[in-house]
């Protein structure tokens, strides 16, 4: 009888020890915080890139009317010297600047005629569908080796575009009127194998109304 008591007591102690060491209780907030440690923070990366690289880099933006002229006369030279892309293929991106007179404020974009008038060229400034890699790649200072995986690169584009959609476009759209002159910087995507200069869409980085 005594032996049985000892046997059950030892078994119970063992069970308690094993049970105690098998279950861990942690705060959910601690677990969530631990799982994000070391993860790439695309939003923070995009903010730093915008402030420290892109904004100062806008001084290197190509004058859009001059670039369009060069693309017509010396396409290969224009792509070789002024376009950038993190990947390979036909899609390339240019950092641009210009001024234009607003001819229409549409649901998804703003139509402008480039100035001076002698340029005679209409382009669209995207105000709704701001997506893709144009703003991330156009400056040409990022390298694919800066990112450990492609999803990080994609997320940087998404964060830059989100910033444009939420911070750059709304105050401008609220004030812009047909007939106003806008000074803009931004990025454009062009296909070097199938070049179409009649469909230029600017993804804006800065938009400023220039009124007389």
């Amino acid at each position: 009888m005594q032996k049985k008591v000892i046997k059950y007591t030892v078994a119970l102690i063992l069970l308690l020890v094993v049970g105690y060491n098998s279950v861990y209780i942690k705060k959910l907030s601690e677990v969530k915080a631990a799982s994000t440690v070391g993860k790439f923070d695309a939003a923070a990366y995009a903010q730093t890139f915008w402030k420290e690289k892109l904004t100062p880099g806008l001084t290197k933006a190509n004058n859009l009317p001059e670039l369009l002229t060069l693309l017509k006369s010396e396409k290969e030279n224009a792509f070789k010297n002024y376009s950038h892309a993190l990947g390979i293929g036909n899609l390339r991106y240019f950092l641009i600047k210009g001024e234009g007179k607003i001819t229409a404020i549409n649901e998804n974009d703003i139509s402008v005629t480039l100035l001076p008038d002698s340029v005679g060229k209409d382009v669209k400034i995207a105000t709704e569908f701001v997506y893709g890699n144009a703003v991330r790649d156009a400056l040409g200072i990022l390298s694919i080796n800066d990112f450990s995986n492609t999803m990080d690169m994609n997320n940087v584009s998404a964060e830059l575009n989100k910033k444009i959609r939420t911070e750059i476009i709304p105050p401008f759209r609220a004030q812009a009127k047909k007939g106003d002159v806008v000074a803009f910087t931004g990025a454009i995507e062009l296909n070097q194998a199938h070049l179409r200069l009649d469909e230029i869409e600017v993804i804006p980085v800065s938009l400023k109304l220039v009124r007389d």
Binding site: G87, I144, N149, M153
Partner: protein, 315 residues
């Protein structure tokens, strides 16, 4: 003294013999490049394999194509044979993102660089470089066009590819990164059709019974887009439902021209294959700082620009 000299000479001779045995493709013989492909039962992969081999030969190497027949065990045999036969690099289209890692690691241990084409392995360190279609960005562009074509509202279906394939999710995520910003676009069903035309037809036929009021179908590849279109024709809905694909297959590009399919994403297998062979050449010449993943741009084909892509799709 004479004995010592004899021993020394013998040792030198032995070292020379052992050294020459271990040397791969010594002398003036060109280095050999293995092109190991998941399956040659699909014309898309045949183009990938033949282009890689042609480019390797053009760069002055011997090239041999191995067909893994979608079988990871057979792929393992090909890797073992390639390493044992003295191939100096592998241009690789994996059968399985996880199952193929071990093969790539075997080659790496043997000092043979591996360059993945079109499909990736789920290991950032195994392959020397992975050259892949930028499926995510391609589907961001398609997603944007989808929203424009739908006027930001309506019910739609998404047909996914193989759920275990990384490309399936890269495409789906890229598409949803745009479309999900529009709350009036409602996805009523999201189902896998395994990248297969017949399965896509069956899956959509079944979905249409419960959701005859959809106005669009987004498909993770062109084979499924063609299957979806067939299902819509059979249901008498072909003129009401917009179909979007991905790949740039010749029949879909033709269907875009005819107004049957709205858009697709054009991939470039030849660019991927040629880049992989060029990377191998650069590796032999001493380069080591390759990008772990090199995205290749995917271009959207729609009715406005389809004439630019009719020839591209043929090739």
């Amino acid at each position: 003294m004479r004995n010592k000299l004899t021993i020394l000479l013998s040792l030198l001779l032995t070292l020379l013999v052992v050294g020459s045995c271990g040397k791969k493709n010594g002398g003036d013989e060109p280095k050999k490049i293995a092109v190991i492909i998941s399956t040659l039962n699909n014309p898309w992969f045949v183009v990938l394999a033949e282009t890689a081999a042609e480019k390797a030969r053009a760069l002055g190497y011997e090239a041999k194509i191995f067909d893994s027949q979608n079988n990871t065990a057979l792929e393992t045999d090909h890797f073992e044979n390639a390493i044992a036969s003295g191939f100096s690099a592998v241009l690789f289209n994996p059968t399985d993102a996880d199952g193929s890692i071990v093969n790539v690691l075997k080659a790496k241990e043997a000092g043979v660089p591996v360059f993945c084409m079109d499909r990736e392995v789920n290991s950032p360190e195994a392959a020397t470089s992975q050259i892949l279609s930028d499926s995510y960005s391609g589907c961001v562009t398609i997603g944007k066009y989808f929203v424009q074509q739908m006027n930001k509202k309506g019910k739609y279906v998404e047909l996914l590819g193989l759920v275990g394939d990384n490309n399936t999710w890269a495409r789906s995520k890229g598409f949803h990164s745009v479309v999900d910003n529009y709350p009036d676009l409602k996805m009523v069903a999201q189902q896998s059709a395994d990248f297969d035309r017949n399965k896509a037809m069956e899956v959509l036929e079944s979905i249409l019974q419960a959701n005859p009021d959809i106005t669009a179908v987004f498909c993770g590849n062109d084979a499924m887009a063609m299957g979806a279109y067939q299902a819509l024709v059979a249901a008498g809905l072909a003129n009401k439902v917009k179909v979007f694909g991905f790949d740039g297959a010749q029949d879909v590009v033709g269907s875009i021209k005819e107004g049957k399919i709205v858009a697709t994403g054009m991939q470039y297998p030849k660019v991927m294959a040629q880049t992989a062979a060029t990377f191998a050449d650069e590796y032999f010449k001493g380069k080591r700082d390759f990008p772990k993943k090199m995205p290749v741009a995917v271009e959207m084909v729609n009715q406005q620009n389809v004439s630019d892509y009719l020839e591209v799709a043929k090739n």
